[in-house]
């Protein structure tokens, strides 16, 4: 009986796939000199204005993204999970969409099957992103309670990864 061999091979392949995903480091690197985060005032889909500088005293995760960017889409559910774990404390999360309109964003958020409850802000004319050191999407920054950029993550992350949550919580505790 030979069929067991391909099955073992396929199963081993699946395990290796998972192992590879798990082995991807979930890291944020410290930003040298902790530059001041450029302020912005952007509206969300409900036209509510959010100003970054009004979040002093809180740790803020600022994520720049677009619906057509696959890693941006993939990390959104993990951002929601992180939001659910961290909100209520001195934590805020802004997902700044670059260059798209409300309908496009709504279409995407509906398609995720996950209710995204953190603020999604609209940078329709890409004016805000130009003031930030963003070269590619997604790029995320963690802002400390003093309004300084302390961490940067280029590319998608699993935001509810324990290591990343630990780094954010440590900042929240050092308020």
């Amino acid at each position: 009986m030979k069929p067991a061999v391909p099955f073992v091979l396929v199963f081993a392949l699946m395990l290796l796939q998972v192992a590879r995903a798990d082995s991807t480091p979930q890291t944020m690197m410290a930003v040298p000199d902790k530059p001041a985060a450029p302020d912005f005032a952007l509206k969300d889909a409900d036209r509510k204005l959010h100003r970054l500088s009004e979040q002093r005293g809180k740790v803020v995760l600022v994520n720049f993204w677009a619906t057509w960017c696959p890693p941006c889409r993939r990390e959104m559910p993990s951002m929601q999970r992180a939001w659910e774990k961290l909100q209520g404390g001195n934590f805020e999360m802004y997902a700044v969409n670059v260059g798209e309109d409300e309908d496009t964003i709504f279409g995407f958020t509906f398609s995720t099957g996950v209710e995204l409850t953190f603020p999604i802000l609209l940078d329709r004319d890409a004016h805000t992103i130009k003031a930030w050191p963003v070269v590619a999407l997604p790029t995320s920054f963690v802002i400390d309670p003093q309004g300084r950029i302390v961490y940067r993550a280029v590319g998608g992350r699993e935001w509810d990864d324990p290591q990343l949550l630990r780094q954010i919580r440590k900042l929240m505790d050092n308020k």
Binding site: L9, V10, R20, T24, P25, T27, W68, A126, V154, G155
Partner: protein, 195 residues
């Protein structure tokens, strides 16, 4: 007895799944659903993956970003386009790269990639609106960047080659100022239809 690599490659072809890589052996995969081919290499703490983007996928993507039909056609058939993922997986330090250092290697010699600035000149001549050009900027793979461990991006790289061309890609990065390079062999541009 079949060689290990042959067996692994066969599984990849059948399942269309990327394999964990070790050393500098590139892995070639074909998506069984659409015939799209990809190549991936992991070496010296970094990994590079190129996946074909079919001309029709290019048309769909850039039409949706607001490009006019002529410009869309220039992108779809005037260059070959790959979805590109470059990662700093485990280099000892942060790495820096500049796509201007990367080279396409063919039987005719070597040539640079077609970079974002080359396209932006074209869009300037064609008076492509600023928001459309901004979308283009972020859709293309960044020309220059620094990746700390765990950093990566996904974006498009473009090559001034006819559809269907075969080439090797020499990719270059710097770690602590020291130049490093590797070659991804046997890459092939998409044709008008993959299957």
């Amino acid at each position: 007895m079949l060689p290990r690599q042959f067996l692994a490659g066969a599984v990849v072809l059948v399942l269309g799944l990327p394999l964990p890589l070790s050393g500098a052996e590139p892995i070639h995969a074909i998506d069984p659903d659409n015939g799209v081919e990809s190549w991936e290499i992991r070496t010296q703490g970094v990994s590079l993956r190129l996946a074909q983007i079919l001309p029709d996928q290019v048309r769909g993507f850039y039409s949706a970003r607001g490009f006019d039909a002529e410009s869309v056609e220039l992108l779809a058939t005037g260059a070959c386009v790959f979805q590109t993922i470059f990662r700093n997986e485990s280099a000892k330090r942060g790495i820096e790269f500049n796509l201007a250092d990367w080279r396409v290697l063919t039987a005719k010699g070597e040539q640079p990639l077609r970079l974002e600035r080359d396209w932006q000149q074209e869009w300037g001549k064609r008076r492509v609106p600023a928001p459309v050009r901004t979308a283009f900027r972020f859709a293309l793979y960044p020309t220059e960047h620094r990746y700390e461990i765990g950093d990566w991006n996904m974006g498009m790289t473009t090559y001034a080659l006819p559809l269907g061309s075969r080439f090797d890609l020499r990719f270059v990065w710097r770690e602590n100022g020291e130049r490093r390079e590797a070659v991804l062999y046997g890459t092939r541009c998409a044709k008008e239809t993959a299957k």
